[in-house]
Symmetry: C2
Subunit: 253 residues, 2 copies
Amino acid sequence: MADRIVVTSQKGGVGKTTVALNLAPALARRGMRTALVDLDPQGAIALSLAKGDTEWRGVADVLVQQLAVRDVLVRTKEPGLAILPRGRLDPTDVREFERGVAEAGVLDRVLAELDRDFDVVLVDTPSGLGAIPRAALAACGWALAIEKAEALSLRSISQILRVIEHVKGDENPGLELLGILPTMVELSKEFSQAAMVTLWSGFAGVLDATIPRSDVFGRASHLGLPLAYVGGKVPPELRRFDALAGEIEGLLR
Amino acid sequence: MADRIVVTSQKGGVGKTTVALNLAPALARRGMRTALVDLDPQGAIALSLAKGDTEWRGVADVLVQQLAVRDVLVRTKEPGLAILPRGRLDPTDVREFERGVAEAGVLDRVLAELDRDFDVVLVDTPSGLGAIPRAALAACGWALAIEKAEALSLRSISQILRVIEHVKGDENPGLELLGILPTMVELSKEFSQAAMVTLWSGFAGVLDATIPRSDVFGRASHLGLPLAYVGGKVPPELRRFDALAGEIEGLLR
Ligand SMILES: Nc1ncnc2c1ncn2[C@@H]1O[C@H](COP(=O)(O)OP(=O)(O)OP(=O)(O)O)[C@@H](O)[C@H]1O
Ligand SMILES: Nc1ncnc2c1ncn2[C@@H]1O[C@H](COP(=O)(O)OP(=O)(O)OP(=O)(O)O)[C@@H](O)[C@H]1O
Ligand SMILES: [Mg+2]
Ligand SMILES: [Mg+2]
């Protein structure tokens, strides 16, 4: 069975999709066959790759038309990396999509179709602790909590950690916190330093890897590419995702 | 009846709470009796003010214990500004909170309790187009769409605009787009300039006011204060919220 990792945060805009999009190819580069799954109704994985909102079929099509996952899986330029996009979803139907993903057993069946061909399944989710994040935590073995290194994001971290413990005790005894990944870190700024000190001194599971704030992410999303494909000189931030992939591979064993 | 404004975005972390927290006192300073309501299950208004997660009663207590809104309304230092917080909510109960807020007629009854004493009700919401944002759009007359000035956020703007039109046509004919507010604008950076050009050339309703990216927001949230109370020299960003409040007052008339 593949290792299933939920990329999660209560707070919005902390870098979940950016981490998922750049960690997936880094895991594939280490030889782990990786599937990147988008459960966010906004379809941010496809949007990050500058695909049209209805260009790729995906999870929504599997749920609505009973398609097989392999019929909608998107192969990428990176050997060993495939994407299961959100798929075709009218934004007025988000509540139905939430109900579909959250229905008992559905997500487990969808992800199980990836078990044979992949070693790791990385699942991007919408922010918050609503129906979809809860369904993902119930169906996966690992939770990667993303925390922006600033005060407001840190104030809600105990909420997500409490829910992970609750789901582990109540629904999915196999769920473990893979780690807390600090993002948008600005060690030259006092408020960011203070946030890091709070993380390091107050919480277990803070990863060694951190992702710094950098304009390269805005440029990459403007170009619709993961960092590895932005071209030109390799951005130093790419090494951060390689280090993160290495740390995660060690934790999964 | 008070003007009810939903602060909304499909994308997470674009500045909804920061705008709500700083626009509310700016509207009050213009003499509009203003109530700031927090419908986000993470309770970000209270967290931004560095209140403990269970310190303030609020919407959750009104729903669960049938308390009156005036019993939990928090008066602030700013004359004419009151806060209706999220209230006491266990993070494992977010889905029940969503169902409670989204139940037909509930939100309208809660907000109606503010009509007598307030001119404007400003409603902060979680990101996305799920149960709570949809309930808020159905119960309010105005939608203020927050858009971070960068590519990824702009790619999902058509989703929120489509839903506003749908709700107006289907559930709440009184709903109007108050405007699109660009946030975290960095006019010295090419990707941000490109985003602004896309907004100005492609969408109706883009406000004149913009909110620049600035470290003062990280510092303010670290201190747990709206900008107006950070102390010392008045930050220039404060004028942006005064200008925004002026523009909105003109649009409401
Ligand atoms: N390390 C970083 N430095 C600078 N900008 C970043 C960084 N990581 C992400 N960003 C930018 O911040 C924004 C938010 O990132 P992203 O969309 O990945 O967050 P998210 O948690 O997935 O958001 P959502 O709540 O909408 O799902 C994007 O514009 C992205 O380009
Ligand atoms: N103009 C700005 N410049 C710099 N940082 C900002 C600005 N506006 C907001 N921020 C910071 O960005 C982060 C996200 O802002 P905020 O929490 O207001 O967004 P949101 O849309 O309410 O997020 P959520 O999706 O979690 O509800 C916060 O850390 C805030 O301090
Ligand atoms: Mg995302
Ligand atoms: Mg918010």
